[in-house]
């Protein structure tokens, strides 16, 4: 029973990390209408950034801020140079273009840091375990990640729901032309959303680096999981993505522990069910 509790926490922690990635993916789709297959690569880049920053400075705690700042800048440049042009293209074009980006990012990673697996040490400050229930202990770093993700999620909800910029992002998702007619630069909103989505994915990568190794192609499986979250939550819905991420995190984690034979397809099966039963998403309104 206590082991079960630990797995639940594991599932929630994985789910919250998934939320950081899929919230950007779903916002970018909702606001810009762009399907970005390279979103998983941004997670990988964030993880490698953490590996490099922690390696050079010896201080892991510089990595998350570096991922956020670097992600905002990198995302803004990507949007201005490339994604702005993808916006009004067919989805097939977007898929091809962003698939090419995956290859490009992997190639860049290979030539910059090579193809080896790397471990990133858990920061010393949090390198201990917290007793949970009855003899079971839980990594303090994992708990910290859980807390950081929750904070970011709460911040996003408040920002999107309560601020004027947040309202203009929701408005731009509905009708960018009308946003322009009100004197607000919808293009700037697109850049902002893409930059924020990139920063969130890279932050997730940096936070995940000490939890798993840093390795080539690590963005692929997270991309698939994130797409499943986006579909289950309802395309474009950040709130939906939150609950869907928790659900997928739990099902995937518990599945792998208790039903390893079917764990691989459980989440995909859930997505298929949602698509056929509620194609607008399990958590979408109306």
């Amino acid at each position: 029973m206590d082991g079960f509790l630990v797995q639940i926490i594991n599932g929630l922690q994985y789910g919250l990390l998934l939320f950081l990635i899929s919230s950007g993916l779903t916002l970018i789709f909702g606001v810009m209408g762009v399907i970005n297959l390279a979103h998983g690569s941004l997670f990988m880049i964030g993880a490698y950034l953490a590996y490099v920053v922690a390696g050079i400075t010896g201080d892991f705690w510089l990595a998350p801020p570096a991922a956020i700042v670097g992600g905002l800048g990198f995302g803004a440049v990507l949007e201005r140079v490339l994604f702005q042009r993808f916006r009004n293209r067919e989805h097939l074009d977007q898929v091809l273009l962003t698939f090419a980006l995956i290859l490009l990012f992997e190639e860049a990673r290979a030539s910059l840091v090579g193809n080896e697996f790397h471990a990133v040490a858990v920061p010393a400050l949090l390198d201990f375990s917290v007793p949970v229930v009855g003899g079971f202990a839980y990594s303090a770093y994992r708990i910290a990640v859980l807390g950081i993700c929750l904070l970011v999620a709460a911040g996003m909800v408040l920002f999107l729901g309560r601020t004027r910029v947040g309202a203009s992002i929701r408005a731009a998702a509905e009708n960018p032309e009308m946003v322009d007619l009100l004197g607000i630069d919808a293009r700037l909103i697109h850049t902002l959303v893409f930059a924020a989505g990139t920063a969130l994915a890279m932050l997730a990568g940096a936070l995940a680096a000490p939890l798993q190794s840093v390795y080539p192609g690590m963005g692929d499986s997270i991309l698939i999981a994130s797409f499943i979250v986006v579909v289950i939550g309802g395309l474009g819905s950040v709130g939906g993505a939150f609950w869907a991420a928790l659900l997928v995190g739990l099902i995937d984690t518990l599945g792998q522990v208790y039903f390893p034979q079917i764990a691989g397809i459980a989440v995909c099966g859930l997505m298929a069910l949602v698509l056929s039963w509620r194609p607008t998403g399990l958590f979408s309104r109306a």
Binding site: R164, A167, V179, L181, L182
Partner: protein, 233 residues
């Protein structure tokens, strides 16, 4: 006095089709222009070209006497041109308050003043855009445009499809806005109402201006009224 907004020999259209053919039109501060013409004559196309949603193919749009070709839509809006589009453009998932506040720019039109103009919106302030009736949406669209503190308010079929009481309400507000000194371009099918509020009436036929003059000159020409507006003289 310099025109705020002007079209000079303006031509524009969609893909292959050329809709506007050498349109000339000048709107001066505080002036109300009634833009008329049957369905499909190019009124909406002219509005879209003035605000920059469609590029000018030939001729130009001038804002305060300066060619606006390089100004994107949001920049023209910031310089004081507000458009209430045919479809109203209410953000369905945003509340009435959010719809209004999103648009706010400094000036005398505040949330309080807009709500005083449309008391009905005040009672719906927390409702989402998609929970409003058609008339309430139209009020919100106009109120939101006023929140930008425009020098020019362009209304595209603002009373279309509304119940008579709602129409009266919109016409009342158009009168108030005019008294407040905001210039306007009013596109509407209700000929009598347009003629009574406008300083000048411009009639479009197949993308060309066939009449530009005071309402009296149009009233005096029942033949033109019948041909171009479908109004029995």
């Amino acid at each position: 006095m310099n025109a705020i907004l002007e079209a000079r020999d303006l031509s524009a259209g969609y893909d292959e089709s050329r809709i506007l053919q050498g349109v000339n039109l000048a709107l001066h501060p505080g002036e109300a222009i009634g833009l008329m013409g049957r369905n499909g004559m190019g009124k909406t196309t002219l509005i879209r070209t003035l605000i920059g949603l469609l590029p000018a193919r030939e001729g130009s749009v001038l804002l305060d006497g300066i060619d606006a070709a390089a100004l994107p839509v949001f920049e023209r809006a910031r310089r004081g041109i507000a458009v209430v589009p045919e479809n109203r453009g209410i953000f369905a998932s945003l509340s009435v308050r959010e719809n209004l506040r999103l648009a706010a720019r400094p000036g005398s039109w505040s949330e309080e003043r807009v709500l005083a103009l449309f008391p009905r919106l005040g009672r719906r302030i927390g409702n989402r855009g998609n929970q409003l009736s058609g008339g309430e949406q139209q009020m919100l669209a106009i109120g939101r445009a006023l929140m930008t503190n425009p020098r020019v308010l362009i209304l595209d079929e603002a009373t279309e499809g509304l119940a008579p009481l709602m129409r009266d309400e919109i016409w009342r507000v158009i009168g108030v806005v005019r008294e407040a000194g905001v210039a306007s371009i009013i596109v509407d099918k209700t000929v009598d109402a347009v003629l009574s509020v406008a300083d000048r009436v411009v009639v479009l036929v197949k993308g060309s201006v066939v009449h530009d003059g005071p309402p009296a000159s149009l009233r005096a020409d029942p033949d033109l009224m019948a041909r171009c507006l479908g109004v029995a003289g």
